[in-house]
C-alpha cells in the first residue's frame, strides 16, 4: 500500500520543494535530496543557519575559510541570485544545475560570460581580462613578465573582439566559444552525475512519496 511519509521537518529559509527544483533543473528528485545533504553540510560548517556564507564557501573550496579568491567571489555572487549575501538552498540547486553535464550549453555559455564580466557592465573589457590573468598568475605563483601578459591578452582579445571596440559582448563571446569549446570546460562538473552515490544518506531521510514498486 502506498502512503505519504510526511515528517514535521523544519526547513531553512530559501528551502524549495525538491519536486519543484527537479522540474526546473537537470536534477532528479533524488539528486536534489542528495544536494540537500551536501547543502546542510556546507551551510552549517561555520554558522549553523542553513545558509551558505562566503566564508563557508571558501572553507569548502579551499579548506581555508579566509582564503580570498577573485573567481570564487564571482561564482559566489552568481550563485547568490537574490543578492542577499548568502546562498540559499534553492539558489544552490538552480546554480549547480548549470554545471550538470546535461544542462543546455547556452546556459553554460551565458553563465561563463557573466562570470568574467567582473564589473557587470554587460561586456568583458580588456582591463577585466588582464586583471583576471594577473589574479590567476598571482594565485598560482606563476611569474610572467608584463610583456608576455600583454601579448597573451592582446592575442586573445584580437581573436574574440571581432568588432574591434575594445570589449567582448555576449554575441562575440558566443562565437568565440563556438570556435574554442574548451573555454566552457570548467562549466561542467562530472561529479554531479553521481551525486546520489556521494551522499547516500538521502536514502534514509527521503521524503519521496512511498509507492508500490
Amino acid at each position: 500500500m502506498g502512503c505519504i511519509c510526511s515528517k514535521e521537518v523544519k526547513h531553512t529559509p530559501g528551502y524549495e520543494d525538491p519536486a519543484l527544483l527537479a522540474k526546473e533543473t537537470p536534477f532528479s528528485v533524488s539528486e536534489v535530496e542528495a544536494l540537500y545533504e551536501l547543502f546542510k553540510k556546507l551551510s552549517s560548517s561555520i554558522i549553523n543557519d542553513g545558509l551558505i556564507h562566503k566564508e563557508e564557501f571558501q572553507l569548502a573550496l579551499f579548506r581555508n575559510r579566509n582564503r580570498r579568491n577573485l573567481f570564487a567571489d564571482r561564482i559566489f555572487d552568481l550563485f547568490d541570485l537574490k543578492r542577499n549575501g548568502v546562498i540559499e538552498f534553492g539558489e544552490f540547486v538552480r546554480s549547480l544545475g548549470v554545471f550538470h553535464p546535461n544542462a543546455p550549453v547556452e546556459d553554460k555559455i551565458k553563465f561563463a560570460f557573466r562570470l568574467y564580466d567582473l564589473r557587470r557592465t554587460g561586456f568583458i573589457e580588456r582591463e577585466e581580462l588582464k586583471e583576471m590573468v594577473i589574479a590567476l598568475l598571482h594565485e598560482s605563483d606563476l611569474v610572467l613578465s608584463e610583456d608576455v601578459i600583454e601579448t597573451i591578452v592582446d592575442k586573445t582579445f584580437s581573436d574574440a573582439d571581432l568588432k574591434g571596440d575594445g570589449k567582448i559582448d555576449e554575441d562575440e563571446w558566443k562565437q568565440f566559444v563556438a570556435k574554442n569549446p574548451s573555454l566552457i570546460k570548467n562549466m561542467t562538473l562530472p561529479y554531479l552525475k553521481d551525486i546520489t552515490l556521494a551522499f547516500p544518506s538521502f536514502v534514509l531521510t527521503s521524503e519521496v512519496e512511498e509507492s508500490e514498486i
Binding site: 577573485l70 590567476l136 598560482s140 570546460k185 514498486i213
Partner: protein, 212 residues
C-alpha cells in the same frame, strides 16, 4: 522508500518460472553484504550463466572502449612531433583557477581524479619523464595526438585496465600546464598509484600543484 529497505534486507520474490539454479545464483548476487557477495569472476564461471554467454561474447569483448582498439599495435610510439602542444589563450589560463574548481565541494583534494600541475620544463622533458615513469610502473604508453599521452596498466579489477590521460598545454614556451586524469579503471587503484608512485616521481618537473 520501501524499495530501499527491501534492497538492504534482500527481501524479494522470484517468479515461479525461475529454475532453482537461477534462484541460487540470484541469491548470491543480491547479497547485501559486499564481502560475501559473489564476484564477477565467479558469476562468469556459473554454469547457468555460461549457457547464454556464447552468442554475445564477441560483443562483450569489443564493448570496452572502441577508441582504443587501433592504438595497441606493436609499434614503438613516436614522440618526435608530440612537442607541438595546444596553446592557451587568456581565458584558458583564467579557467585554471582553483576558485572555479567546484569539485572541492564534493571530494577531498587527495580523492580528485583529475590533477594539474605547472612546469617550467620544456614539453619534451615532460614527455620523456612521463614515459620513464610509465615504464617503471609497467604501464604501456600510447600517444593519441600532439601533446597527449595515454598510459595503460592492465588490472585484475572488474573495472578493466587503468587508463590515465595526460595532456600538456603550453602557457608560454617556458611554462606548461600538465593535466592528468583517470579515463577508466578502478578509482581506488588510480588514487593509490598516483599518490604513492606517480606524484613523487613527478616532483622534479613540478613548479606548482594546482589546488595546493
Amino acid at each position: 522508500m520501501q524499495m530501499y529497505k527491501k534492497i538492504s534486507k534482500a527481501e524479494y520474490k522470484c517468479p515461479h518460472s525461475f529454475p532453482p539454479e537461477v534462484r541460487r545464483l540470484l541469491k548470491r548476487i543480491l547479497d547485501p553484504n559486499p564481502n560475501t557477495r559473489i564476484s564477477m569472476k565467479k558469476i562468469m564461471e556459473n554454469s547457468w550463466f555460461k549457457k547464454g554467454l556464447n552468442l554475445n561474447s564477441k560483443q562483450m569483448k569489443d564493448s570496452v572502449n572502441p577508441d582504443f582498439q587501433p592504438l595497441f599495435e606493436p609499434k614503438k610510439p613516436d614522440f618526435s612531433h608530440a612537442s607541438k602542444v595546444s596553446s592557451f589563450n587568456a581565458f584558458d589560463i583564467i579557467s585554471l583557477s582553483t576558485g572555479f574548481d567546484l569539485s572541492g565541494l564534493f571530494v577531498e583534494n587527495d580523492r580528485k581524479e583529475e590533477v594539474k600541475f605547472t612546469s617550467a620544463k620544456p614539453a619534451s622533458d615532460i614527455i620523456s619523464k612521463m614515459e620513464q615513469i610509465a615504464t617503471s610502473l609497467k604501464m604501456e604508453v600510447c600517444t593519441k595526438k600532439d601533446g597527449q599521452l595515454n598510459l595503460k596498466k592492465p588490472s585484475g579489477s572488474q573495472n578493466g585496465p587503468l587508463l590515465i590521460d595526460v595532456e600538456i598545454f603550453e602557457i608560454t614556451s617556458s611554462f606548461h600546464l600538465v593535466e592528468l586524469k583517470k579515463s577508466s579503471g578502478d578509482a581506488f587503484e588510480y588514487r593509490k598509484l598516483f599518490n604513492q608512485d606517480v606524484k613523487p616521481a613527478l616532483q622534479e618537473l613540478v613548479w606548482a600543484w594546482h589546488g595546493e
